[in-house]
Amino acid sequence: MLFNSFQYLLFFPVVCLVYFTIPFRWRTAFLLLASYYFYMCWRWQYIILIMVQTEINFLCGLRMEHARTQAGRRALLLTAIILSLALLFFFKYYNFANDALGSWFAFLHAPYHVPRLNIVLPIGISFHTFQTLSYIIDLYRGKIPVERSFIKFALFVSFFPLLVAGPIERANRLLPQLERTNHFDVDRLTSGLKLMLWGFFKKVVIADRLAEYVNQIYPHPADYSGATLMLASYFFAFQIYCDFSGYTDIAIGSARVLGYDLMKNFNLPLLARSPSDFWQRWHISLSTWFRDYVYFPLGGNRASTARWAFNIMVVFGLSGLWHGANWTFPIWGLLNGAFLLLTIGVGPYAGRLCRHCGLPHRAIVLLQVVVTFHLLLLARIFFRAGSLRDALIIVQRIFTDLASPVYLGYSSVGALLGLALSVMLLVIQWLQYNNRLPLNLSPVRVPALLRWSGYLAMLLAISVLGKSGNDFIYFQF
């Protein structure tokens, strides 16, 4: 079931109504059933996968509590991690690894006969795998108590707002919320619905409109000029932000109405002033996951410069691989790591140079935002391109053929509208950055007339310009 479907518009109110009507003791079980139904609307068979993963981590957690030695605890941790990652590997990376091995064997002129399998990737598998891993690792580290209720733990793994594309919640945040008694709250309902409206607007009006142009240009980059590819890359930057943050807003809004607070996943990333700033604003739940469970255990920045740079590259390489089973993703990750190291190294000198040239502070900030945006844009080409070859064609064309005419696609009106909406989004973000407009649920007051005009404009825009039925990009991860 997609958030941007009529099915969800029926499902969600029914779930809320039943949830707040039934006695408290049944609510967790009801939410679990609703979450399983939500997932089964896609492919019912794959719910077994979630159940297996839940069972493995739940049992390992229980056993870990009773383990007498540290070695026993470690063995249980490793069991849970290996089994969870094995499921993830099989469904997501088997064919990718198989193809890579096949290429190596072919290179060595050795026979290789392992067949490709026709596997349908379960949506959101990377998200719920990482969520369960965070539980078992935190439990091993002694940061959280063991969860003894299977139903609560199963709901922690599969709570429908975050089941398919996050945010990747932590056990110490979500599990205590599942313990508490939630009462229907009008204020939460209002703020949740507002957030959902903003999420729907970003998804169906902006992201899906930009997707039409990007999906036309990116599959055949050799057919288009550098300027056209540049425009498609700009559009993709806005598309992926609106798509993913739109999803997250709907998820957070839905959970909020039900009485749960999910973690913030985005914080105006388009206005980041450096790559390191960007990763503190973009997909925060994943960035912090990698920080806590990969970067810190590797030694973080408490090591030699070379080791620290190595740690950064490992984290970004793994983060890229997490996104998808294609060489373009690890390269995207490594490029991001390289840009981060580069800006950390060069940034102070560039800042000094700007100040030496007498540039005012605002101009320096603008320059930082523009440079960061374009560095990430360059990396994102690898994220979106279908293959490495396509990505290299796009980069080459952009750098050699930028003065050529721009093709606006099947619908030039659609492309121009997409451009206008992207600019509007930037303006809104700039106002939010400067605290003139509310950021998510922050208490900045806006005059009632402006607020109501905004709601009506969003509703009308969804009604007139909204595209329905498109998947969210992050579902495939």
Binding site: L17, H183, L465
Partner: protein, 353 residues
């Protein structure tokens, strides 16, 4: 036992009342705005397509007509009102409904229909399967409503369009709305096709194959019957497509042209105008392999005027003038170039041998 929800609601009665009041007001405002916007959009769209004036020439088609025919130039040159009711991706069924809808809107005015045809007129694949969505703005017409209802992907898609007016439009129809209000009918495509890329695409097999779908042929025949039964002359205008593409499947291309010739041979009032021989090799006139750019539109419309003028001046314009069928147009037309009655030429002159 009192449910938990009722207890929660009664403890927040005031804020709930305020919330419900505001929600109702928002919904009411939204519906009112939706109706208002729907009315505004429909007026503009009807003006753009020429549904609000009794046109003597009705141009019906898909994107080839949208980009190929200059309505204003046609009106100025022929001295008669012209309606250009063309929707991108419209298939033969959509176009039949469009012709019928126009005849319902303006039952007595149309004397000639210029219907765009091409080698793909009967091809089933390639055009959007959701072309019924183009007719959403006219869903109040019972025939169109029934067609849309049968073709909608889901019940919700249909019900939503019946309930609300604004979802009936998309960015394309909205641009037509504003063009209608601004009286802008010109082609804004200034670019040129890249023949090399097209050749590569054809070599790689990346082009739309011609086929002859029985349903499309039947709908086309129904349209022909409908127009001829209304004693209206039907021009099957083959708006040019680029020669490289036309030669991708030469036999099927010729077969499709022969079909139009045979349709034209069945009735004196059906005339087939094939513009490919004249324009297909002039690559500078094409925006993409299928569509003319602004310059192409200008050149093509000039030629269309030359072909329509001799027969129209006598049979349509003068007839209409003498029978006072269009009295409300008389003043406007008198300011245009007066037509000199000529002998009705033999329609066969315009047929492709």
């Amino acid at each position: 036992m009192r449910s938990a929800l009722l207890t929660d609601l009664s403890s927040q009665r005031r804020s709930l009342k305020r919330f419900l009041g505001k929600s109702l007001l928002l919904v009411a405002l939204f519906f009112a705005l939706d109706r208002l916007a729907g009315w505004f959009f429909l007026r503009g769209l009807e003006h753009y397509y020429g549904l609000d004036v009794p046109a003597q020439i009705l141009c019906v088609g898909h994107s080839h007509t949208v980009l190929g025919i200059d309505k204003v130039a046609l009106e100025q040159a022929l001295g008669v009102p012209v309606a250009k009711f063309a929707l991108e991706n419209a298939n033969t069924t959509d176009r039949l409904l469009m012709v019928q809808h126009y005849f319902k809107c303006q039952p007595a005015s149309v004397r000639a229909v210029v219907y765009d045809v091409d080698a793909h007129s009967f091809t089933s694949s390639g055009l959007s399967s959701s072309s019924y969505q183009l007719l959403f703005p006219f869903i109040d017409d019972p025939d169109i409503r029934e067609y849309v209802r049968r073709n909608c992907a889901s019940r919700t898609e249909y019900i939503l369009r019946r309930l609300l007016c604004t979802p009936r439009y998309n960015e394309l129809t909205l641009s037509f709305v504003f063009r209608g209000y601004l009286n802008k009918w010109s082609n804004f495509k200034f670019g040129h096709v890249n023949p090399e890329v097209l050749r590569q695409q054809i070599q790689q097999g990346r082009f739309r194959r011609i086929d002859f779908d029985r349903d499309n042929l039947c709908q086309f025949a129904r349209m022909v019957d409908f127009v001829t039964h209304h004693h209206t002359r039907l021009y099957l205008a083959c708006i040019p497509t680029i020669d490289i593409l036309n030669r991708a499947e030469p036999e099927k291309f010729q077969r499709s042209m022969s079909l139009f010739t045979s349709f034209a041979s069945t009735n004196r009032d059906i005339i087939f105008l094939n513009y490919n021989p004249q324009f297909e090799a002039r690559h500078e006139l094409f925006f993409d392999p299928l569509h003319l750019n602004r310059e192409g539109q200008r050149e093509f419309t000039k030629q269309l005027v030359r072909d329509l003028e001799p027969s129209l001046q006598h049979s349509l314009f003068v007839d209409a003038w003498q029978t006072n069928a269009l009295t409300n147009e008389r003043e406007r037309l008198s300011s245009l170039k007066p037509a000199s009655p000529k002998e009705d030429p033999n329609p066969n002159d315009y047929r492709v041998p």
